[in-house]
Symmetry: C2
DNA sequence: ACGTATTTGTTCGTATGTATC
DNA sequence: GGATACATACGAACAAATACG
């Protein structure tokens, strides 16, 4: 890794900061990877730990690294920005950001609606609904768990269509629902459950961003109620007004 | 607390669920309060612990209580819904929800812009900016920490005006900025820092919802860059499209 | 559940160089 | 030169979070 040659007139911590910056930019340390401890760096550069800390604090400010007490300092992984709008579609969103989208089916089944689902789809609790649950990936890394609920009566044959087409948008179009728009989105945050942590490959201490969204067809009829949970360390939502 | 009289024909867990529901609605257990352990409840109702668990699971589904493994079961605190739109203003938002809004000044000062602030206000890093930081409360409970950054050059006298008027909107109007609208909002989530936890009166394990928003005047010039941190257990954001 | 090692966070104190008046 | 303020750098110790057996 880069060393410094003690240019006089420029503060040492600036030089160290720049050296580390280059190491990261050059790919010497990869996103998500741990960089050496403060103790090791201070020894390598032949300076006090404070000086290294000062240098690292600049990188934190720049968003290049993230420090976790007791664990170490990690190269920041670039976050995926989800632009949430009327017609947000998972796959198109990622493609627009030049990322490789991927989805994995977790489960697809018909179940009776719980209270929350029934309320949001304007059904009576217990009515049959179709649940499609899948894991969304960006560049091979899991970023979201999406639970999509549809009134079973309104989308007959959806599961079959989905299994053939592997895409919700395409499956809906197969059963003649060609467009749907997002009515409202609620956003919350909470700690990940054990299952979520496992699926999203995050630690259970990492929060998840949870969105509840209602999607309607062009007549304003409620087609879908979706709950998505995003790994907060890899995702940021954006709402333009 | 309510007891049950074992009405035949109705499942016991339903009766228990209803009994607990009434206790909570009647205010016997207050929001945030811990309800008795499953062991105690099962003894009180003279049923097996499984039956109590079945009853509680209904309340969880209804969002009335929240179960924390190893800690207990707690009456859910009602969440404040923040409807984020073009002209979201803290005080008006809460008033519209029939809640008593309150703000406390944390600090107001002039500082050089950091990288993040400079970028979002389209200034050079180091330019003087005004920072107003305040704690937002709903019904006396802290819900948000708002850091509001303004280009010092563009809002001369803002701090003085704010100190007199105690309101950002009013202070801006005093210096002839009568309207401003929200361009975009980014939403993230992360664990609360120690300071945030203390100010928001939450545990450090509770995540915060963080929004970054850019506000422009009617000419599209960037007036304010705001970072708000919400206590995720008391707040939910809503975006209508 | 507990102790130990590792790693970052915080707070002292000390010393030196640099810029300004 | 002298006085002062500020930035830089080092050292030591302890606190707090985490990982691991």
């Amino acid at each position: 890794m880069a060393d410094i040659k003690q240019e006089p007139g420029i503060a040492v911590w600036r030089q160290i900061s720049q050296a580390l910056h280059q190491d990261i930019s050059a790919g010497g340390y990869k996103p998500g990877e741990k960089i050496p401890t403060e103790a090791i760096l201070s020894e390598r550069f032949g300076v006090n730990r404070h000086t290294v800390r000062r240098a690292i604090s600049v990188l934190v400010e720049q968003g290049l690294v993230r420090v976790e007490q007791g664990r170490g300092t990690f190269v920041a992984e670039d976050v995926v920005e989800f632009v949430v709008g009327e017609r947000t579609r998972f796959t198109e969103l990622l493609a627009a950001q030049k990322r490789t989208p991927g989805t994995q089916l977790i489960r697809a089944m018909e179940i009776p609606a719980g209270e929350l689902v029934a309320e949001n789809l304007k059904l009576r609790a217990g009515t049959k609904v179709i649940l499609i649950e899948r894991l969304g990936e960006a560049d091979g890394r899991p970023v979201s768990i999406g639970s999509h609920y549809f009134s079973a009566r309104r989308v007959p044959g959806l599961i079959a269509a989905f299994e053939k087409r592997k895409s919700i948008t395409k499956a809906l179009s197969d059963i003649h629902i060609f467009d749907y728009i997002r009515l409202s989105t609620r956003v919350r945050s909470r700690r990940a459950t054990a299952e979520e942590a496992q699926l999203l490959k995050i630690s259970p201490a990492t929060p998840v961003l949870e969105t509840l969204s209602i999607n309607c067809d062009t007549d304003g009829k409620r087609i879908e109620f979706g709950i998505s949970r995003f790994a907060s360390n890899r995702v940021e939502l954006r709402f333009d007004t």
